[in-house]
């Protein structure tokens, strides 16, 4: 079975400058269709109609944090099995296991390198297994 193409990414991050860099990296370099949300609430409102193929979540955000948002997203019918990746500075093995147990597919280390972000995302997509 052919792996579906990764086209639409939902990115949830509250810091505007990081949003801009990520948009450059994923939209212009990566060619993905990108929706950026600044908060959990905005993401919950817009995710269902955007129907992303993959979701990137910042872990620490004011208001709703990444793990809480993940739980809320998973309760939406269209998003129960959408791959979710956490963006976080913490990548100790036990923390990685913890995030996986919450339902994340993988983590991307922050601060990320804008030039390689797309590659990281594609690698994760390719290795997700179907």
């Amino acid at each position: 079975m052919m792996t579906k193409q990764l086209q639409k990414i939902l990115y949830v991050e509250d810091e505007p400058d990081i949003q801009t860099v990520a948009a450059m990296a994923l939209e212009s370099l990566g060619g993905f269709e990108l929706l950026i949300c600044s908060s959990g609430d905005e993401a919950l409102a817009k995710a269902p109609s955007f129907a992303p193929d993959m979701i990137l979540l910042d872990v620490m955000m004011p208001g709703m944090d990444g793990p809480t948002l993940l739980k809320a997203l998973r309760s939406m019918p269209k998003l129960t099995s959408t791959p979710v990746v956490f963006m976080t500075a913490k990548v100790q093995p036990q923390e990685l296991a913890h995030y996986r147990s919450l339902g994340a597919l993988d983590v991307i280390h922050k601060p990320f390198d804008p030039m390689t972000l797309t590659d990281q995302v594609r690698d994760i997509w390719r290795n997700k297994g179907d």
């Binding site: 801009t20 860099v21 500075a89």
Partner: protein, 584 residues
């Protein structure tokens, strides 16, 4: 080629990151200072300042490396880990924790200082040149990426009252003014920063041409090659000639009209670069289209292409090209037919159309020109020639169009153009599901200004408001002159609340400006009404709602801004007996 552009944009973001560091570090330091036990009694709970400090450190840890400063990330992360609530609350552990926090903070300060030093000359100007094309904004308005925060100019003026008045007024236009009372003072005291421009009086106690001779002959090397604007009470030929000989860029007679001064400052310091040219390419071969597009983009021209001529209507309306580059022979549609189709629309009667084709037969080329094309280029074409033809055609077309689309006095869009633009922006807002706000602005008691001071002065007031609008609004906002003393503003990606914030600041600043008429100085205010989409989703209802809010603002005392809420909520404009919207 795309990568070079991105690298430049990332470099611009990096500078912005650096520019924000000092303020973040100050806040971090202040929060950490409050954590210590001595301060605990004085206000904020220790846990909340700890969380504040942790948040700032976390932000730096997560972003430093992305912007090219991995050391900032690492040092901040260590500090962040120490800022978690200590597991053991006893006094000894608390003291140890406190010391660690302070050590890590000091280390972070060193790393930050090091990063800033490396970019010191750039920080002074805080130049940000990144395009906002990729910026996705929430409805809380983000400041325009183009906004500079410390644009320094030197003012050399021995009349201290005048100097402080000019400094204050120019501050409203975004300039930071360093004043000196003589050329010698500027020479001696200014070795730190390099200003963007120098405002120089001509006459001083030491000599009637002390200013011009200083600039012409005695300028120190650290101030060379900076644009100089002369100001003087004199307007005679000799003084002006001296100014020209000294290499001045401009000459202003006192009393100085501040908005004219600010406009000249903008142009000599290249603050508001002209809008990039926009070219739409219609070419069925995608790789060729891409090649032309990239060639133009590498010269700073915005280029979009379509391979299917049938899809021309949307990009025509939304991208609004300055020039259309078109293949002559396309499978589905003849270039000549397409040109005629484009010219059917009144807006595009005058847009330059350039054919690009393998056709070498002169009679065919002439036929194409007869049908509405402005030029005919044969393939294969050299990149330089393409760029040069495009640039010269677009400049000329813009000049001509300027006379049709823009109000001659203020340089803003005229009435029909701004309303046409509102339709376009509203359609785009519908499609992208983003809010836009529409504001109607009217100068207060303008008739009495004209009656008291004359129409020439009234015109100057209109120009100074237009100038302030052009300066302070973002690139993506559009301002137009709606009527005699009425202006209309379209704020994209903004809701009514965001528009209110921006325009209220503008209102307050405009109210502070001194306008000059002979020996008189006076101030002027404006009233403003705002409505937004999606509260109102049609041009008619949106402009009527803004108009009603403007009327309310006038009724409620002027020099204020009112917002019309959506139809289904109670508002003065919706009550029966309220004035009919649109009755102006």
């Amino acid at each position: 080629m795309a990568n070079e552009r991105l690298t430049a944009q990332i470099a611009a973001l990096q500078k912005r990151f650096l520019a924000q560091l000092p303020e973040k570090m100050e806040r971090l330091q202040a929060a950490i200072a409050k954590i210590s036990s001595e301060d605990r009694g004085a206000g904020a709970k220790p846990e909340s300042v700890r969380a504040t400090a942790r948040g700032i450190a976390h932000g730096l840890a997560g972003s430093g490396g992305t912007f090219g400063f991995p050391q900032i990330s690492e040092t901040a992360r260590v500090l962040e880990s120490e800022l978690h609530p200590p597991t053991m609350q006893d006094a000894i552990n608390h003291a140890i924790n406190q010391r660690k926090i302070e050590d890590h903070l000091t280390r972070l300060q060193h790393v930050v200082a090091h990063a800033l030093d490396a970019d010191a000359s750039l920080i002074d100007e805080c130049l940000i040149s990144s395009q906002s094309t990729y910026e996705e904004e929430s409805t809380a308005r983000e400041p325009d990426l183009e906004e500079d925060s410390r644009r320094t100019v030197f003012l050399v003026e021995d009349d201290t009252e005048l100097a402080s008045s000019i400094a204050l007024q120019l501050g409203h236009f975004g300039y930071k003014v360093h004043s000196f009372s003589s050329p010698a003072d500027m020479r001696d005291e200014s070795d730190a920063a390099r200003p963007l421009a120098i405002l120089m009086d001509i006459g001083f106690p030491e000599g009637e041409f002390a200013g011009t001779s200083f600039i012409g002959e005695k300028i120190p090397s650290h101030l060379k090659d900076i644009p100089v604007l002369f100001i003087s009470a004199r307007g005679d030929f000799k003084a002006r000639l001296e100014a020209v000989r000294a290499g001045g860029s401009a000459y202003f007679r006192k009393p100085v009209e501040i908005s004219a001064l600010a406009a000249t400052l903008d142009s000599v310091t290249k603050r508001v670069p002209p809008m990039p040219f926009r070219v739409l390419i219609v070419e069925d071969d995608e790789s060729i289209a891409e090649l032309y597009a990239e060639t133009l983009r590498s010269e700073g021209i915005e280029a979009e292409f379509i391979t299917n001529p049938g899809r021309i209507c949307q990009p025509l309306a939304e991208f609004s090209p300055d020039l259309i580059l078109m293949d002559l022979y396309m499978p589905e549609c003849d270039g000549i037919e397409l040109a005629s189709l484009i010219r059917q629309q009144p807006t595009y009667v005058s847009v330059p159309i350039v054919f690009l084709s393998c056709e070498t037969r002169q009679d065919k080329q002439l036929a194409a020109l007869k049908h509405g094309a402005d030029d005919f280029l044969t393939k294969p074409i050299h990149a330089d020639e393409l760029v040069s033809v495009v640039k010269s055609r677009v400049s000329r077309a813009r000049e001509l169009r300027g006379r049709m689309d823009y109000d001659g006095l203020t340089g803003l869009l005229n009435h029909s153009k701004i309303m046409a633009r509102l339709e376009v922006e509203l359609a785009r807002a519908h499609r992208l599901d983003r809010p836009i706000a529409f504001a109607m602005l009217d100068l207060d008691r303008f008739k009495s200004i004209n009656d008291t001071y004359g129409h020439a002065v009234g015109d100057r007031v209109l120009r100074s408001l237009s100038h302030l609008l052009q300066q302070r609004l973002r690139r993506s906002d559009i301002a137009g002159r709606y009527g005699g003393e009425e202006f209309a503003i379209i704020l994209t990606d903004t809701d009514a609340a965001g528009a209110l914030r921006t325009l209220d600041e503008l209102r307050a600043d405009f109210a502070q400006l001194n306008h000059v008429a002979g020996n008189h100085e006076f101030k002027v205010t404006f009233s403003c009404g705002i409505a937004d989409f999606p509260s109102y989703n049609h041009t008619d209802t949106l402009s009527a709602a803004a108009d009603a809010a403007l009327y309310a603002a006038k009724r409620l005392g002027r020099n204020r801004i009112e917002v019309t809420p959506p139809i289904d909520s109670p508002s003065p404009a919706n009550k029966p007996g309220a004035p009919m919207p649109g009755a102006k």
